[in-house]
């Protein structure tokens, strides 16, 4: 297969030949034209072009697309092994969607129950929201360093990428850039995605300071709304923790994050372990520092959330004051491209700068104009958030499938299939 590194997963999403009706629904959601097969014929996915976002999967009316990576039984087995410390890293979007698998309304915030159920199953918790806050600190600091260097003319302390800076939390988006727009790789934030930061942190700081276990006896399980995360964990560069310990005399080799369960996978895991999600007692895990998170960390699951969280911190770091209105409405909602200007007065030099930001969700429909501007070198923005899935991670390819909904956020042009 072309375009893969050694040992990377090469296939995650597959179409069942027997169930496919050739309706082309998947093609209307595929951001990377990875689906082959003409209208009426049986379709198939070309993994070399696929970014594993799973939008086709959650939008297939006939349920003929599935996620072929199933590690539920492996995780159950690991949970039963007393020598292993199994850490669940729960993404923000999982807590508002897992309830749907157990008959709750979409959007029911079930953090307590989720913690309770995970504890009952034997997981330790490392909330990905903590990692999201962590991402904001790293990615935000990177952005601030670029602003100070490129806009305020200060000398750079680090090797810096280019402006506009793109977010790098979405593994589908990262793979998209690597496959289809490698010329903008320097614009991609060097910060890892929250899950990958969580993995590296869990097996270093977490192993020594929080759980006092050997990192090689840890299993970090990402509980994600995302199928592309299953690809991300297999990327060979994400073994920083093992590398860190190798420099300190250990010989073990392991990935930062061992496996990923989607929200749907987690629901199956609870069912297999006979954990009744509706009856489980809510838990807070208040004394676990890695389960502490801010409101900024949790909104990562929505389109515009990373931007909003970053602005809350960047504004503070540059101006020395808190953002007067925390709920930054211009970046919220399902509009395809959201833009905002924010004026900052640098506390150190007194210079005033206007930060222009853009939020894109739904690569398929909304990315092209923004990306073209950046490639042509005439992008007006400084910071651009991109999430592949329409609506953000809440509508990720690993989320419960809502039979009465679709990810189609565009207009009625869909009515004319020949256009």
């Amino acid at each position: 297969m072309k375009g893969f590194q050694t040992n990377e997963r090469t296939s995650i999403i597959e179409i069942n030949r027997k169930k496919c009706k050739g309706c082309d629904s998947c093609k209307s959601f595929c951001p990377s034209a990875a689906i082959q097969g003409k209208y009426g014929a049986i379709h198939s996915i070309n993994s070399e072009q696929c970014i594993f976002c799973g939008q086709c999967l959650i939008n297939c009316p006939f349920g003929s697309i599935s996620d072929t990576v199933d590690t539920v039984d492996t995780v159950i087995h690991q949970l039963g092994n007393q020598e292993l410390t199994v850490v669940a890293t729960i993404a923000p979007s999982v807590r508002v969607a897992i309830g749907e698998e157990f008959g709750l309304e979409p959007g029911t915030l079930a953090t307590g129950k989720l913690y309770g159920a995970l504890k009952q199953a034997g997981f330790k918790i490392f909330d990905a929201n903590f990692a999201a806050d962590h991402t904001i600190m790293e990615e935000g600091s990177e952005l601030i360093a670029k602003i100070r260097h490129y806009l305020l003319g200060e000398p750079a302390e680090h090797e810096l990428g280019l402006l506009p800076q793109f977010t790098s939390c979405c593994p589908g988006w990262v793979r998209y850039v690597e496959l289809y727009a490698p010329q903008i790789l320097p614009n991609l934030s060097s910060a890892k995605s929250p899950l990958m930061m969580a993995g590296a942190l869990a097996k270093t700081y977490g192993a020594t300071q929080i759980w006092q276990v050997k990192p090689e006896n840890m299993v970090v399980v990402g509980i994600m709304p995302c199928t592309s995360k299953k690809f991300e964990v297999s990327r060979p560069e994400f073994s920083s923790a093992a590398h860190y310990w190798q420099q300190r005399g250990s010989a073990a080799h392991y990935p930062d994050v061992d496996t990923v369960l989607t929200t749907r996978d987690l629901a199956r895991l609870f069912e297999k372990m006979n954990i009744d999600f509706n009856r489980v007692e809510a838990s807070t895990d208040a004394d676990n520092p890695l389960a502490q998170y801010s409101g900024a960390g949790t909104i990562f699951g929505n389109t515009g959330g990373v931007m909003e969280a970053a602005l809350r911190t960047a504004y503070y770091v540059i101006t020395g004051q808190e953002l007067p209105l925390l709920e930054y409405k211009p970046v919220r909602g399902l509009q395809g491209l959201k833009e905002a200007d924010i004026t900052l007065k640098d506390a150190k030099t007194g210079q005033v700068i206007t930060l222009k930001v853009a939020v894109v969700h739904g690569i398929k429909d909304n990315l092209k104009p923004v990306l073209d501007q950046v490639i042509a070198g005439r992008s007006p923005y400084h910071f651009i958030e991109v999430m592949n899935c329409p609506g953000g991670c809440v509508n990720g390819g690993g989320q419960p499938i809502n039979p009465m909904g679709t990810s189609w956020t565009g207009n009625w042009k869909a009515l004319l299939p020949w256009t």
Binding site: H134, G305, A309, L326
Partner: protein, 103 residues
């Protein structure tokens, strides 16, 4: 050229019947179109509901900015130092690959 000696008698439809049929057909079409429009308009409702759930989590959070997360502040104090420190660069940053160049 058609040649025939007998033909079917003309069918009579009373005004009342005609209006009735048009009425029923119209009602079916109208409700159908109405229901379809509703379904299509509500198609993203679940995304909005999940998004609202997340914004609710933000509103009720005690701390609402990443730099105020106490656990994170502890972590930087005890472990990574500060964002973009050499250790942070090593553990929390990465590089990307031009996949068009991979064989």
């Amino acid at each position: 050229m058609a040649h025939y000696d007998y033909v079917e008698k003309a069918v009579t439809v009373s005004r009342r019947e005609f209006l009735g049929m048009v009425g029923v057909a119209g009602a079916i079409l109208w409700t159908g179109a109405y229901a379809a429009t509703d379904l299509v308009q509500d198609r993203n409702k679940y995304i909005k509901m999940r998004a609202q759930g997340i914004y609710k989590d933000d509103v009720k959070a005690k701390v609402r900015q990443s730099h105020h997360n106490p656990g994170l502040q502890d972590m930087y104090k005890q472990f990574a130092g500060q964002p973009l420190s050499p250790l942070a660069e090593e553990l929390f940053h990465t590089r990307y690959i031009d996949r068009t160049k991979l064989g």
